[in-house]
């Protein structure tokens, strides 16, 4: 029954809503509160399915990690010189995922792009959780996790500092900063909504939201301060986000290895990050829209805009990717050229071509409106794009080890062991588990901003009329 109303709504939307109409401006504010708060109540079956599946995956990942911890990294079938494997590739992938949340939220906020409002909250949550996941990979990957704090610059009696020349230290610092700021940004943006939650909750939950909403009453002064603070953090985050992935790129670009020692790596990495992040937003958009019935807020025009943004970024990425190939091909480093050729024709050629196809050709699906408006197609496309982006990271890390400077140590069809795959799978479980938990504890759609949006539309329509 509800289904049919939905369809009817969409039908109406298609026929009568003008092009720029991202959201139905006739939704009552109370309805918004009700809809969003409803998503935080007793979960639907679908929620349980996703949550438990994630939990199981995560559990398996934890098992793999314990196994690896006890026996040594040898169980991952890592070797000399294939020292990194999936861990670093997946680390970059997750770091990349974390970019679009900030982009959507901060940049579009500053640019007053209203359509971000219903979706930025979950995008920011995605940022935070993927950063945490990426952080896990740093730990999983270390030979001696129990000494991880050596990387942190903290004053100590032994005068032992980390090596400030090392991109890994820059990494640790940048990711740490980015994670903290992202959490702060996410939290700041949530305060007015937490107050709404507080007002609607009972018992322990009320206490919890009361604590978190920091006494928000919605006074004018509070709003004024809030806006300044929010804008400041947003402005702060933008250069930070760009720097984080640039720094991850320097992990490779600073080294001398063929296939890594490439000047265009930082922008290339940033583009790749935004790309995979946007693709992930599309995926989550569709999932949330379905699982929490957010059709009213996560509307097709917003999806359409996100898709167009993704398409633009995909093209930027494609360009930078080609720049990379061209600069290696026309450069005079025979070793780098050999490694590039190896990527295209060697052991991992299938992955390389798949990555290029998924990264550069599949996004053209986003150029067609009919496809953009087809939810199942978009779900598949967004997943494919992310697969492509993951392959990109794999293709950066592995072939350089397999076919680097030193021919004696080249490897032959090296593939990660089940432990690595298990941990990678576990990371997806961990991410979606956290995300699902978040959805039940915090409002995934920003209530106050949607209200703003509705209000603006309403006012605009009134004015037009």
């Amino acid at each position: 029954m509800i289904q049919s109303t939905d369809e009817k709504d969409i039908e109406i939307e298609r026929r009568f809503v003008p092009k720029a109409k991202d959201i139905n401006d006739e939704i009552a504010w109370a309805q918004i509160n009700k809809d969003v708060l409803r998503s935080m109540e007793r979960p639907r079956l679908m929620y349980w399915v996703i949550f438990l599946a994630s939990l199981a995956l995560f559990g398996f990942g934890v098992y793999c990690e314990i196994y690896q911890y006890q026996n040594g990294l040898g169980v991952a079938d890592l070797e000399n010189p294939q020292v990194w494997g999936l861990y670093i590739a997946t680390f970059i992938f997750w770091i990349g995922m974390s970019h679009s949340g900030t982009l959507l939220s901060a940049i579009l906020h500053i640019m007053h792009a209203d359509w971000r409002k219903p979706i930025y909250r979950f995008a920011e949550a995605m940022t935070t959780f993927s950063l945490m996941t990426a952080g896990l990979f740093v730990l999983v990957h270390l030979g001696r996790v129990w000494e991880f704090y050596y990387v942190v610059a903290y004053p100590n009696e032994r005068w032992a500092w980390p090596n400030f020349n090392s991109p890994l230290v820059w990494d640790a610092t940048a990711i740490g900063t980015y994670l903290t700021s992202s959490i702060v940004f996410l939290y700041f943006g949530m305060i007015p909504d937490l107050a709404i939650c507080r007002d609607n909750a009972k018992g322990v939950r009320k206490k919890f939201y009361w604590l978190l909403s920091l006494g928000w009453q919605g006074t004018d002064r509070q709003w004024a301060n809030f806006r300044v603070a929010y804008l400041t953090v947003a402005c702060f985050l933008i250069p930070l986000a760009v720097s984080v992935h640039s720094i991850v790129a320097t992990d490779f670009a600073v080294s001398q290895q063929p296939g890594w020692h490439i000047t265009s790596f930082p922008p290339y990495f940033v583009a790749g990050a935004l790309y995979s992040g946007c693709a992930a937003i599309i995926t989550l958009f569709i999932v949330l829209r379905y699982v929490f019935r957010f059709e009213e807020y996560m509307t097709m025009p917003i999806l359409d805009k996100t898709c167009r943004l993704t398409f633009a970024i995909a093209m930027v990425w494609t360009y930078l990717n080609l720049v990379e190939y061209a600069s290696v091909w026309y450069g005079d480093d025979p070793v780098a050229k050999q490694t590039l050729l190896f990527r295209a024709t060697g052991d991992y050629a299938a992955y390389w071509w798949a990555m290029n196809f998924l990264g550069s050709v599949v996004p053209f699906a986003l150029a067609f409106k009919s496809l953009r408006n087809n939810i199942p197609v978009m779900l598949v496309v967004s997943l494919l794009l992310n697969l492509g982006m993951w392959l990109e990271r794999f293709m950066i890390v592995t072939p350089t080890f397999a076919h680097g400077f030193y021919p004696w140590t080249w490897t032959d069809h090296w593939m990660p062991s089940w432990v690595q795959w298990g941990i990678v799978a576990g990371s997806f479980g961990w991410f979606s588990m956290l995300f699902m938990l978040f959805c039940k504890i915090f409002p995934t759609v920003s209530m106050y901003e949607v209200k703003e949006m509705v209000y603006h539309r309403f006012v605009a329509r009134k004015a037009r009329a």
């Binding site: 050999q338 021919p407 004696w408 490897t411 032959d412």
Partner: protein
């Protein structure tokens, strides 16, 4: 000693000093008791161990027969590492990888720590009293065995252990000391003896300007690899010598050659005769050999030889002219030329070149005649084992004592040694670790490792003068219930011949007396104790003797009609077993360092493999790692294919030494044992097993497995300029500074 009733001749024989030395050795007074204490205290912490400081003691490496002098680094009473002993000319302060691994034989986790006695199907741990009781009951004073009924089977052995062993057999009226070596040098020795009058001439590698080697792997598995490697290094310095290697499968030495030729196995003699033919065209050599021999060489023109050997016809006069230009040269034959039915003639044909080129006295010399021939090694042979095997199968052997060889593993299938052991009522093994042979024995006695025991060694190949190598314990014995072989033999001899041996409380006393007896030979003016102490300190007793001359017996060289080798349809491939310098015949497969040390040619470790030429592999659609069945008329083994360019295309090769089934955790279940597919072909002249004459067929099994190797998917430098090569005429070695020639 004054109470000694035996006469002096006997006494000297007991000590292994008679013959030439007997006239030199006076009968002095020896103080044995002091030594008896020393053997206990030598490695005791109080006197010799400074905590935290490594001290070096000299000894002798027993990992192979070269007898290199070594120094052991001992710290806190533990032997840690072996280095070469610079005082010994054989090692020159250097050591090979196999020698290094001696410590792992000593510390091997699979060492036998207690005596074991057969009980039904299995071996049970017993006490030494019980074990010696059994031994004495069978071989003690009451034993009536004699002659052929008792046999002592060993590997190559020298020094006083050999003497004691012979004396022990003699007490039964037996001389049945059977020496077996799976990689026996007997054919080569026989040919040397026939042509030069000596079994093993000294190769002056560094004096040669050109070395032409027919499969002699002197750098890897030769009679004295460390010494020869040092000479080789000098050979490569100004004026730089040239090395040409001709063999069916590239050995380590071949890999270092300036020019390497792949030859059809078994046709080395033909090539040598072709070279002789070519050389004789030159007036300088025309009269170097008798007319009739020269006439017999007529048929060996370059086309015929090229046809037979598979070597390019133009290469033959080219090699001949190099031989002529670069004098003095040195032509040597090696196992892959000698291990054929006509191996002996192959070798003599090769030696003919030395005679034509007049290398005698220049690059080929005789070993110095030394005063203690009894201490010289007995070289092992296949024939000795075959005879013993026959006696055993006929039930003539009543007691078999085994030490230092593993025929159950190395003997070919047609010598069912392991089965025939069942027909011997009493079998004793003296070993540091259970192996396939000792597992079949009735009594297994755990002996001291070479790093725990005393001994003397005289290398079969004495490169300069003569060295009597002294082996001494580098640490206290690891396991209380192990005993030195010398002590066991002395105990037995005391039963057999109480009079002759009662003067020696133990083996140490015997050895010291024996070594001190040799003092006059070394012409030193020291007290006996000082002499002994010096011998222990230096690890070697050197005699600087001049090299002996060698003969040129042209008559020994037989030239028969060129042997055309037919390609058998049934077994189309030649089978060349290869010997890995560190595993040898498999006796070192229990040492983890050596298992993990990649084969220099293929970089494979922990495995066996079948080498096959890439073109042949392409024809047969064989890829690396395909599991092949190598089948001869005698049997078959399976191993992974390895595509190897350094092999004659009609040949396949497999390393020996792997495929153990009862030799401890590091050896068992690794690879396959190609000894078991050798065909019963024998050298016509000496009757030795012709190891390189087996023919096989290769079958694909359809399985494939990952090659366990160090190299990556490429064996090429890919333009990386890693190993740069310079042409010999460009290099100015004389201007260089180098450590090699110092």
């Amino acid at each position: 000693m004054s109470s000694n009733k035996i006469d002096r001749r006997d006494f000297l024989r007991v000590l292994g000093i008679s013959g030439a030395a007997a006239t030199l050795a006076g009968c002095g007074n020896t103080s044995i008791e002091s030594g008896a204490e020393l053997v206990e205290s030598y490695v005791q912490p109080e006197d010799f161990v400074v905590p935290g400081v490594g001290v070096y003691y000299a000894s002798t490496c027993t990992q192979c027969g070269s007898g290199c002098g070594i120094m052991g680094r001992v710290r806190e009473g533990r032997i840690l590492k072996l280095e070469g002993n610079p005082k010994s000319a054989i090692s020159g302060g250097k050591i090979c990888g196999l020698g290094q691994a001696g410590v792992q034989m000593h510390y091997n986790p699979d060492r036998l720590t207690k005596p074991m006695l057969r009980e039904g199907d299995g071996l049970k741990v017993v006490s030494w009293d019980k074990a010696m009781g059994v031994l004495n009951a069978r071989l003690g004073s009451k034993s009536t065995l004699s002659g052929q009924q008792i046999a002592f089977l060993t590997g190559e052995i020298s020094g006083h252990q050999k003497v004691l062993l012979a004396n022990f057999l003699e007490s039964f009226g037996s001389t049945n000391h059977v020496v077996y070596d799976a990689l026996s040098p007997v054919v080569g020795h026989g040919a040397n003896k026939a042509v030069y009058g000596v079994e093993q001439p000294v190769l002056q590698i560094d004096k040669a300007r050109l070395i032409l080697s027919f499969g002699n792997d002197f750098l890897g598995t030769g009679p004295s690899p460390v010494r020869m490697a040092a000479q080789y290094a000098r050979f490569r310095k100004a004026p730089r010598g040239t090395l040409i290697q001709i063999e069916p499968r590239m050995t380590l030495t071949g890999a270092n050659a300036d020019r390497w030729y792949a030859i059809r196995p078994g046709t080395e003699g033909v090539l040598a005769l072709g070279l002789a033919h070519s050389l004789l065209q030159h007036p300088e050599f025309a009269h170097s050999i008798p007319q009739e021999l020269a006439a017999a060489l007529k048929p060996y023109d370059k086309e015929t030889v090229a046809e037979i050997t598979g070597i390019n016809a133009d290469a033959i006069p080219h090699m001949a002219s190099l031989l002529w230009e670069k004098s003095p040269s040195l032509v040597i034959s090696g196992p892959s030329a000698e291990g054929h039915v006509h191996g002996f003639s192959n070798a003599t044909a090769i030696h003919l070149l030395n005679l034509i080129l007049d290398n005698r006295g220049k690059t080929l010399q005789g070993q110095a005649n030394h005063p203690f021939p009894q201490l010289s090694p007995a070289f092992g042979s296949y024939t000795a084992l075959a005879q013993l095997n026959q006696a055993m199968s006929a039930g003539k052997c009543e007691a078999l004592l085994i030490m230092g060889c593993n025929p159950a593993f190395t003997a070919p299938t047609f010598v069912p040694f392991a089965n025939n052991m069942g027909k011997v009522p009493f079998k004793v093994a003296f070993t540091t670790q259970l192996d396939e042979t000792s597992r079949q024995c009735d009594l297994v006695l755990p002996i001291l490792s070479p790093l725990e025991d005393f001994g003397t060694h005289v290398a079969g190949y004495q490169p300069a003068g003569v060295e009597l190598m002294i082996q001494q314990p580098l640490m206290e014995k690891l396991y209380p219930e192990t005993r030195g072989i010398g002590d066991i033999l002395i105990d037995l001899l005391k039963q057999r011949k109480p009079d002759a041996y009662k003067a020696f409380p133990d083996y140490y006393a015997y050895l010291k007396t024996a070594v001190v007896k040799a003092k006059p030979v070394f012409k030193v003016k020291e007290s006996d104790d000082d002499f002994w102490e010096d011998a222990l300190r230096n690890g070697v007793l050197r005699l600087d003797l001049p090299p002996a001359p060698i003969d040129a017996r042209v008559a020994a060289i037989k030239v028969s009609a060129p042997q055309a080798t037919e390609m058998g349809m049934q077994y189309p491939f030649y089978f060349v077993p290869s010997v890995k310098a560190d595993l040898r015949d498999g006796r070192h497969a229990n040492l983890p360092w050596l298992q993990e040390s990649p084969d220099p040619m293929t970089s494979v470790a922990w495995d066996s493999w079948v080498e096959i030429h890439p073109t042949t592999a392409t024809q047969m659609q064989i890829r690396e790692g395909d599991i092949l069945e190598v089948q001869s008329a005698t049997g078959s083994v399976r191993a992974k294919a390895y595509l190897f360019p350094g092999i004659q295309p009609d040949t396949v090769s497999m390393p020996v030494g792997q495929g153990h089934t009862g030799y401890g955790r590091y050896a068992d279940g690794i690879g396959a044992n190609p000894f078991k597919i050798l065909d019963p072909n024998f050298d016509e002249q000496t009757g030795e097993l012709a190891m390189y004459s087996t023919r096989v067929i290769i079958k694909k099994t359809g399985e494939n497995a990952k090659m366990i190797k160090d190299e990556g998917p490429t064996t090429l430098q890919q333009g990386r300029k890693l190993v740069v090569t310079m042409a010999a005429d460009q290099a100015e070695l004389a201007k260089e500074i180098t450590r090699v020639t110092q």
